[in-house]
Subunit: 109 residues, 2 copies
């Protein structure tokens, strides 16, 4: 499988950020979607744990830093346009800050 580097990511489309889909590596459930800039991705790669960029707080954010619900990142996938990532993770505890396993608990319509 082709491997790409952080330099290949297209950060231009969304003001330096890319969406990151976080998927449970075993169940394949989608746990959450967050945003990452270059620094967040570098920290994820360096530490092996999911880091993001908080758009509301405008700062680097390690998932689970306070709650302990960290995400061990086993694999990072990148899409054909190089502007979206998937983190395949082992989730400790719940992914959602509302104390549910995933952030997608409700149906539309």
């Amino acid at each position: 499988m082709t491997k790409l580097s952080i330099d290949d990511i297209d950060f231009e489309k969304s003001q330096g950020l890319v969406p990151v889909i976080v998927q449970d590596s075993k169940s394949k459930d989608i746990l959450m979607l967050a945003y990452a800039n270059r620094l967040a991705i570098e920290e994820t790669v360096r530490t092996g744990y999911g880091h993001y960029w908080s758009r509301s707080r405008n700062k680097l954010w390690k998932k689970g830093e306070e709650s302990g619900n960290v995400q061990k990142v086993l694999e990072i996938k990148i899409d054909c346009d190089e502007d979206t990532l998937i983190y395949l993770v082992e989730q400790s505890g719940n992914a959602c800050h509302k104390n549910t396993k995933t952030c997608f608990q409700r149906d539309l319509i």
Copy 2:
């Protein structure tokens, strides 16, 4: 399970758009990520097939309109912040315009 309506979606954070994660309903593979505005979601609900908003062409876009690789949408999930959707779909043919099943064929690093 709680049901939300289109009026509950927070379109403000990203200039009238929300990211839509498209997931295969059977395999749970993540096929692609696209963006939708209110109109695209209304068309998805009305027709039962995945519609998006093309950011590059600035127009409504029915997935597979030209290629035939349409997406029958079985369920739409919404996240805790009401700013991200999942379309659970039956994908006809390949999801990626590069003729692969999913858009996420490559690893980062």
